[in-house]
């Protein structure tokens, strides 16, 4: 145990450790290189030994095996993590900004009466405080925060840190503890509808956000997608409205896409959306707001009303196609 240990909470996607977890270990490794200490990984599952390989970049893998940890449910997960933190007394606890990490991080901090910082892109020590640079207001602002307390709990912005390349000791340590089932229980996993187009396999995606304003306008986007030989995708509000199926949603709770072209129309570029499309080869964004965060990550930007641009672009593309067919 050292003053500077960093505890990484392994995030599971189905049966496997998520890529985000490797980013957490990468971030933890940067800290321990500068400040000393070890990288600890908390692995809550039914069979830690089968998962431990992927966490080999950590120094100590603290595996709690228990049937109640087969699927995420808040009670036993929070109990197990609080117990590990009490035993190990790390300086930092790192969570992925996954749909589980977002629930657990502030909850753990509240249980331990310690600070929690969300959406961190960078962090370091300053005296006995922890300084973190965090995304704020859906990416429209950057906040530099100072936290005092021990441990400090952080959720890390996906993609902000390089996955671990360090070589850890990778020692698996079974951790024995009693855990009880909580009041909130897992019943079943419902997977995405397989009958729809798989947008993760498409070369060209026309992605619409709230800027489309009305369901009637979806037709303009559909025509544009057809003219490009691509498929429609969307940000979450469009799916919430029921204008497109959940299988078309790009982002944290949607799909991770890497098309050759991602044409983002009326999408602001909130971090939860960007994490699903930042791997696109070419991104063109159309937005009426010159300050929209999507313009930071797009290759090309257009400050314009998408409703005006879509029909023009469809027409130009159709004409180009016609010309190239004639040739």
């Amino acid at each position: 145990m050292s003053e500077q240990d960093v505890l990484v909470v392994a995030d599971l996607e189905g049966d496997s450790i998520s890529n985000g977890t490797l980013e957490l270990i990468g971030a933890a490794g940067q800290w321990t290189e500068t400040h000393g200490g070890q990288v600890l990984a908390a692995l809550l599952s039914t069979d830690g030994a089968s998962q431990a390989m992927r966490l080999a970049a950590a120094d100590r893998i603290l595996a709690v095996d228990n049937p109640v940890l087969a699927h995420y449910c808040p009670g036993p997960f929070l109990d197990a993590l609080s117990e590990i933190v009490r035993r190990e007394a790390p300086r930092l606890v790192l969570f992925a900004s996954s749909t589980v990490g977002l629930d657990l991080a502030p909850g753990l901090a509240a249980v331990l009466k310690t600070p929690c910082l969300g959406n961190c892109r960078a962090f370091d020590a300053e005296g006995d405080a922890v300084m973190a640079t965090c995304s704020y207001c859906s990416g429209k602002l950057v906040a530099e925060l100072q936290a005092k307390g021990r441990p400090v709990v952080l959720t890390l912005l996906p993609g902000a840190f390089h996955p671990a390349t360090r070589i850890g000791k990778g020692e698996l340590e079974p951790v024995a503890m009693e855990l009880a089932e909580g009041a909130i229980r897992f019943e079943e996993m419902i997977l995405a509808d397989q009958s729809d187009v798989d947008i993760t396999q498409q070369d060209v995606l026309v992605s619409v956000g709230r800027g489309i304003q009305q369901e009637d306008n979806m037709e303009l986007a559909q025509e544009l997608a057809e003219a490009l030989g691509g498929e429609l995708a969307a940000s979450r509000p469009i799916v919430d409205q029921g204008w497109l199926a959940a299988t078309r949603q790009v982002g944290k709770s949607g799909m991770i896409v890497k098309p050759r072209l991602y044409l983002a129309l009326g999408v602001s570029g909130a971090p939860e959306h960007v994490e699903g499309m930042s791997g696109s080869e070419l991104t063109i964004a159309v937005n009426t707001d010159p300050e929209a965060p999507i313009f930071e990550i797009a290759d090309y930007g257009v400050e314009m009303d998408m409703l005006d641009l879509m029909p023009e672009l469809t027409e130009v593309l159709k004409r180009k196609r016609a010309v190239s067919y004639e040739r």
Binding site: L102, C116, K140, I184, D203, D240, Y300, E312
Partner: protein, 257 residues
Amino acid sequence: MKIAVVLRQVPDPIEPLELMPDEKALDYGEAGFLVNESDEHALEQALLLAEDGTAEVTVLAFDFGDVETTLFSAAAKGVDRILTIPWEEPFPPGTDVATALFADAIRSVRPDCILIGCQAHDELEGAFGPRLAVELELPYLGVVRGVRQTAKEMVLEAHKEYPGAAKARMSVQLPAVLGILAADQPPRYVPVSRIREAMKSAEFEELELESVPPSVAVSVARLSFPLRGDGARMLEGNEREVAEQIAEILVEKGVLT
């Protein structure tokens, strides 16, 4: 069943945000406000759960920002009670203060189920729902899309979202706090005429709560606008000119042949 819904005012992210001269806070005097989007979904989910007529919905909010508009709209949607927490400052309460005061307010209602949005874009210290739950000594489930009543009165079923459009069906033994990302249907629209009626008849109950000292564990050193970096190359011109440029780029990059 008694349901409590927490409604928070957040700065309108579409309007330009301004900073205070010390760059440590948003200039709330310059901000436009609206109800936090996922809180609005939480309210919708509560109303859907109450549609069978047996549940009572109480809304709680700080008296801050443009809260009256939000609360009159909630009244017009048919909530049973509206409680406000007095707040004199020109900035919203910090996380610790909000947690303590909302928890006090909620205890006075003794609800079976507390619904709150699973995030707000002006949160710096992670989501608020999990803290509130710990303060109330209740379990929390967040990133929920869709909640149903089961055959057992004190058991709900909730769908928690996972990547890849997957979701887990969870059973929730009440009392509990649920962090809603989206309701089973988009928040209902209320005609302006109904809101006007509500403005005449709706009553807000103002709570008297003990004040809470702000925490010093987390402080803002500086706020700034993100560096544009290289950013996007902006295409200029009218619609036709921009469309032509996009087509050229697509040909150049081999996306169009």
